[in-house]
Subunit: 335 residues, 2 copies
Amino acid sequence: MAKWYDDSGFQSDIVLSTRVRLARNIKDIPFPRKMTDEAASAVVDMVEQSLSTMNMGFSRTDILSVSPLEREQLVEKRFISPNLARQKKPSAVFISGDESVSIMVNEEDHIRMQAIFAGFECQKAYEVISNVDSYMAKNLNYAVHQKYGYLTSCLTNVGTGIRISFMMHLPAICKAQVADSLFSAMGKLGVTVRGMYGEGSKASGYLFQISNQMTLGVNEKEITDRLNDVVNQLIAKERELRSALHKREGLSLEDKIMRSAGILKTSRLLSTKEMLTLFSNVRFGISLGLIDDIEPRVLNALMVETSPAHLAYGRDNPAERDAERARMVRTRIGG
Amino acid sequence: MAKWYDDSGFQSDIVLSTRVRLARNIKDIPFPRKMTDEAASAVVDMVEQSLSTMNMGFSRTDILSVSPLEREQLVEKRFISPNLARQKKPSAVFISGDESVSIMVNEEDHIRMQAIFAGFECQKAYEVISNVDSYMAKNLNYAVHQKYGYLTSCLTNVGTGIRISFMMHLPAICKAQVADSLFSAMGKLGVTVRGMYGEGSKASGYLFQISNQMTLGVNEKEITDRLNDVVNQLIAKERELRSALHKREGLSLEDKIMRSAGILKTSRLLSTKEMLTLFSNVRFGISLGLIDDIEPRVLNALMVETSPAHLAYGRDNPAERDAERARMVRTRIGG
């Protein structure tokens, strides 16, 4: 199976990736913020033990034993959170062989496991992570309250402990200036929208993270169904507005799209912000059938590969970084 | 031999073309402004007669018998002047088979003959047009004054009747902001500088016409030598400033150059002004050895082929014209 960041998947011109995350804690051990180093080490070992007979090729990485650069790379691949990268207590991440599942140990909760796939793959991600969760539950004694459900360090996760999030590409919704009203209506349905790079409807590259707000008082199926509904409506709206935009702007939109591809193939200096804008135009062009020589999969991979900690050169110099980013983009998408 | 507008030639990254023009009149016939239609017709026939035994494949085009569009196309290829295109009296242009020589009859003077070549080809252009002039002189009785030389309708052409002009591409001189002082110094040496598209150092595409001011009191050899000197100095200065600019701006200059090539290969809408700017960057890139898949010859041809009267479509609609221009550029330079 392809890695999430080097794949495309269903509805991939609008939904770049789907992630389902579960929060779990082990009974009778204090939450990470309060635990001793010894207890923390013990939890890491317990998790390792629980996975040892599972046939998914998990590999263990101890956060304190890897360099700050490696930690940063794990964050850029979304295997760990920035919080875990800064953790001072014994902590770890277990990553499955195909990189679809990662399990953080001793972040805010003892266990935060996620499955992540390219495209709109809510069902698949949910099944994969549920399977891992059930397997671990056989060996670990989860902290569960009969009335409230899974107990978690932060109240927002109590209950199902589930968070589903989609990285969505919504240029037409933003350009039609309906983003703010749509997003606020979604908030009332318990759905949160965050800019992936910068806040609000001005987010660079028109990329947004859409996720559920509540984990308590509704079951996992209800949460999943509701979010699926909202995302399907967003996809339909985005498609409708893309058609309308293309119809209205015609050649001037095509001009902007095709030039974006041309610039990606030839630039010698490329900032992250400009790259994301050009990628957005190219994704739009692919979905309109104007561009067929650039794969969405490659754009997804480049977003990770050209992140600061992944760049081979120029980590300390913005100009060199922009040069290296431009070189990598040219190499991958052909110039 | 290649046509001047579809060729490159010596020093072609700086000197796009060289033109040598001679003005002649026939003795005892009034200048065009004062002549009768009968006399005008007679002069056209006399010129045709004088060329009939010359082995250059001249073809005659009578201005009054071609459409305004065809006249405009002749102007865009620089075979005739805008003045001749508007002439109401019998008048004509004779164009040699290889299109290097054109002879206007009954423009401001009875005869204005020019040789035009791509690149820095002063000597060649002078020899070719002198040869045509000598041949015609055998059959025509030129108006010559013993003291002043060839008589012409406008005093600025009296004497040798020669005008040498170069189309030059001077981006580095302009960007170093030395253009105005250089051009005014050249004026004192009897050399005129005009923007090809717009005036002064802000001329679109950094294209200038450099020509001699005086035709009287100096002989043809002196005029040619002096202009050759000035152009050689301009070429040297432009090369020196291009190196300095490249050294100073490095990757950010290369970025601008390479993106320009990328945009030309992908745009769907392209105005003349933007095309000239992008062509200028690409020519600069070719001369720095950064671009090797675009031929200067093709850029020269496109400047003529994408002129309004040469475009196949959209002559009456600026947006369609920009679309057609973009299409032609993509087709010729590959996208």
